[in-house]
Point group: C2
Chain length 196, copies 2
DNA sequence: GACGATACGGAACCGTGTTCCGTTTAGCAA
DNA sequence: TTGCTAAACGGAACACGGTTCCGTATCGTC
């Protein structure tokens, strides 16, 4: 809640009304297009759906990645906030970790193509990388540390590596029904366990 | 060894000498460019390096993916053939599986960007998918079955899924030194183990 | 109602893979 | 050796993607 949330803010005087309206329209159009055509949908398609020119998109979102971030921000936040909650409510830290990773996988798998775009080293998606990493890695780290402290898992796995691994496993999970990302992730988490 | 291997063949009469020479030049140029710029290097770069026009590339290799397949065919073949060999020479099937996966990871990780391109659902890379899947999945399946029969691992993991998982884990392994694909793959294989 | 700042639209640009076609050349025959 | 033709070549042109630019339209204020 740092910007673009005008509903309760006292500031936000500078933007023109039509601009704010357009931004909202764009977010809805993008969300809708992402559902049907995947995250890799052409910018022009989104502009068309929203009934605006491409230039308008770029004024509101400097790059495609910013648009993606904006569309999914809420869900990423929810995922991030679920971490501590699960830790508090689960029997063991390892169970919390498992459930949290499950949430993360849910998120990635349901957004057609998001996982693939998340790892693309295509410069220009830096915003996307940075946002996901900055927001989620600390949460994952907390869960990992708790589980390690409880002696449930090995302590030499960095959150960043695990997150990227899970993210990678989710690539292509939608486009091929034979591929079972969730099971592989499960295996990965199992492999993390210390032979008690 | 079905075509393009003229050295010992009695056939191969139809192609003009310069064409054969160019194909060879192209393969070398592509291999060289792939090493320095990655598998995603522009076709034009490869053409330039080889000193030919882009049209020439497309006459020899109908699509970029065909060129990639041609460049790496030898190594994929070697990997495929290593499967049965490892199974015969290792103490246990699970050890053979581990070593074979290691070979596969070696291959993917050292080819800058190959893993990423391998999974891209970008139609047009079908050739690449098909070749890898057709050639390597049966080998992996054989290793998995042997290990399952020996009671070392769970028997409900399909080779295709495992291979794609391992492939996915290798994505981006080169571009970020903090990411440790090999360790994640190890974890995955560990997770496969039956609690003895 | 007028006017200046703000926002808009979409043509234009750049970098991809791929196709197309006029030009060149290898290889054979006379 | 010379001439001919099918094969191969080169690279301009096309399609398609993200992004930029700028003339035009609109908002909001005076």
């Amino acid at each position: 809640m740092k910007d673009s949330d005008e509903s309760a803010g006292t500031a936000a005087r500078s933007k023109r009304a039509d601009a704010r309206r357009n931004k909202e329209t764009l977010l809805e159009a993008a969300a809708s297009v992402f559902v049907t055509s995947g995250v890799e949908a052409p910018v022009r398609d989104i502009a068309a759906k929203a009934g605006v020119g491409t230039g308008t998109i770029y004024r509101h979102f400097p790059t495609r990645a910013d648009l993606i971030v904006a569309v999914y921000r809420h869900q990423v936040e929810a995922c991030a906030e679920a971490g501590p909650a699960l830790l508090a409510s689960s029997e063991t830290p390892h169970a919390a970790l498992g459930r949290w990773i499950d949430l993360f996988v849910d998120f990635l798998v349901t957004k057609h193509g998001l996982a693939a775009v998340l790892q693309s080293d295509n410069a220009g998606f830096d915003t996307l990388h940075t946002y996901f990493i900055d927001r989620l890695v600390p949460v994952c780290a907390q869960l990992l540390e708790a589980a390690a402290d409880a002696g449930e898992i090995r302590s030499d796995m960095e959150a960043l590596v695990l997150m990227r691994g899970v993210g990678n496993l989710c690539i292509g999970a939608d486009s091929d029904p034979r591929y079972d990302a969730r099971r592989l992730v499960e295996l990965l988490i199992t492999g993390l366990r210390l032979p008690q």
